[in-house]
Symmetry: C2
Subunit: 349 residues, 2 copies
């Protein structure tokens, strides 16, 4: 985390209805709109981590019995499907092998077949290091009367995210990935179409805590008390968004890409291979195969203990088989690449 963000986190806590805090919330909303590339008035930070954002979007926009199509090619797509099932929706998945991208034609087919009320997929699948294609999907989804939901937990602030241009109706993210802010908040944005769907609900949102029909009164003009906002986390997000603005989105995305390319070249030299499909690799999350004969957990533990570097293990189908090297936001530097490569070189020698 940037020291500026940690310093902001430690500012004295003020009241959640204090006019100074409300002004800060407005600036956070504006900053989130810039990074989401949206003009959506309904943009806010939910008081929970990225998974709370996922649940927020699904439980507010889906009612029992509705048809939902979810693209699943990793843990987080699977989680989206599970959250949708718990609302009582009829969930259809479009699957792709772990490490490969979802097929947009298969999603379009599922939309024509099921005429879903909502289609959701993960932009940057953190469990496999794969970027899913988004462009063009909104048209077919909207033609069939559905809403398009995009999980931007890992992509936001690290690669292009174009909510308005892509026709996305609801998106959510987390603060601890490419925004380089501690975990604890989940940015959420809703299009006018999504807000209209919210207004036409026939039942109360099953979750009171995540109920956007109530929360918008707090983030909106009325400032009606809903729950106490996590004040200090909002300070930190405000500072993190200021840092993003200072760098600019295009240079920030280019930096992530350049750092990823350096890492990819170095890993190839070490004889390590990506488990994610060429052409769909995420810049900020590099998923590579643990070499045969190596205990991947021991290497990760020694990287942490002896080199002070934490890399992720494989999740789900990749458990015990892959490493996930995150180069996100503030941590996406050539120095990070050199350090992790040096550590791996020593441990794999």
């Amino acid at each position: 985390m940037p020291s500026r963000v940690l310093a902001a986190l430690a500012h004295p806590t003020i009241g959640h209805l204090d006019p100074a805090f409300l002004a800060l919330m407005d600036e956070v909303r504006d900053g989130l709109r810039r990074v989401f590339a949206t003009r959506n008035p309904f943009t806010l930070a939910m008081s929970g981590t990225g998974s709370a954002g996922m649940e927020t979007v699904i439980v507010n926009l889906v009612e029992p019995g509705e048809r939902v199509v979810v693209g699943v090619n990793g843990v987080f797509g699977g989680r989206l499907a599970e959250v949708a099932r718990r609302t009582g929706a009829e969930v259809h998945t479009v699957d792709a092998a772990w490490g490969t991208a979802l097929d947009p034609a298969a999603i379009a087919d599922a939309v024509r077949r099921h005429r879903p009320h909502l289609v959701a997929l993960v932009h940057a699948e953190t469990s496999t290091g794969v970027a899913n294609d988004v462009a063009g999907l909104a048209d077919v989804i909207h033609e069939h009367g559905g809403l398009f939901v995009l999980d931007c937990v890992t992509s936001l602030g690290g690669m292009p995210v174009e909510i308005d241009a892509w026709g996305v109706d609801a998106a959510y993210s987390g603060t601890q990935k490419c925004l380089s802010c501690p975990p604890g908040l989940s940015p959420v944005t809703l299009s006018a179409r999504a807000v209209d769907r919210l207004d036409r609900r026939t039942r109360p949102v099953p979750s009171w805590y995540l109920d956007l029909t109530l929360l918008r009164s707090y983030w909106g003009q009325e400032r009606a008390y809903h729950h106490t906002a996590p004040i200090n986390m909002i300070y930190a997000l405000h500072e993190a968004l200021a840092i993003v603005d200072e760098e600019g989105l295009a240079p920030r995305f280019a930096r992530h890409q350049a750092v990823h390319q350096r890492l990819a070249a170095e890993l190839t030299e070490l004889g390590l291979a990506f488990v994610s499909q060429d052409g769909h690799r995420l810049p900020m999350l590099n998923a590579i195969a643990a070499p045969p004969g190596v205990d991947e957990a021991i290497v990760r533990r020694r990287l942490l203990d002896e080199h002070g570097i934490e890399i992720g293990g494989g999740l789900g189908a990749f458990k015990g088989k892959a490493w996930r090297i995150g180069l996100m936001g503030h941590g996406a530097t050539f120095d990070s690449v050199d350090r992790v490569v040096a550590g791996l070189r020593t441990l794999l020698r």
Copy 2:
């Protein structure tokens, strides 16, 4: 907030599966057990504010069609009833006038009449400054096969809370009240009886984010990834609990009581009256009537702008009619009393 807590909040963020962080989580659990006065192994901090803790307890322990009795004598009792209704439960309320305490005999009657699966009430009703009686309720609730749930958002760390001695099966709190930690986490504890109920659920918990059947694997021995914990908030809570331990619970409660008595005496001298029933007044939340002919919102705004003191306005039935003076945790000092009384004296002159 104590500067030690703010400093802890700003410690460098580490991974949510880092062994150093997992050790810290164990210490947080132990500290929460001490302040809840419980030996419950199932004690953790949920990744949300106090309302998330409320929702956690209700959605995990109630299934659709079950009977729930809720005591309602303020905003937060009303919120408990609403959260329970959204699970599809059959909710019966036991009401008392705002500013008065719930009648334990009326709750016992409702238990005998409805044989509820769960009974919930608020220990310290923040909207009215009233303490509800708890002792003895567990027996009648358990005799009729129900679980006893207690909202300890405002009471925890500021007045005696005895989860085991009182036979409470599930309790939740918030960090930003008498624990003097920024808002963003919700301590939750479950008795063996509540855990057994959780194990006998016939349907998945409607909220994935708040699903304790999944979260206990992360807080337990398995350390299975569920969602990314709000790392820095856990640092802060760890430090806040250390401060509570250093002071000791009994001296801490006595301090809150002494400070409350000083405030009460000073307010009487200013001609101000409590809206909360004598004998049931909370030490940490003093609800007083705004005097006739005074615009209460202007006084609050001037207290904030000219004296740097924030007091709460009335909520619900007390909106526009009451002030709520919080003297919680780190802020429960004679100096705070003197400052707010001096401010009110100037503004009401």
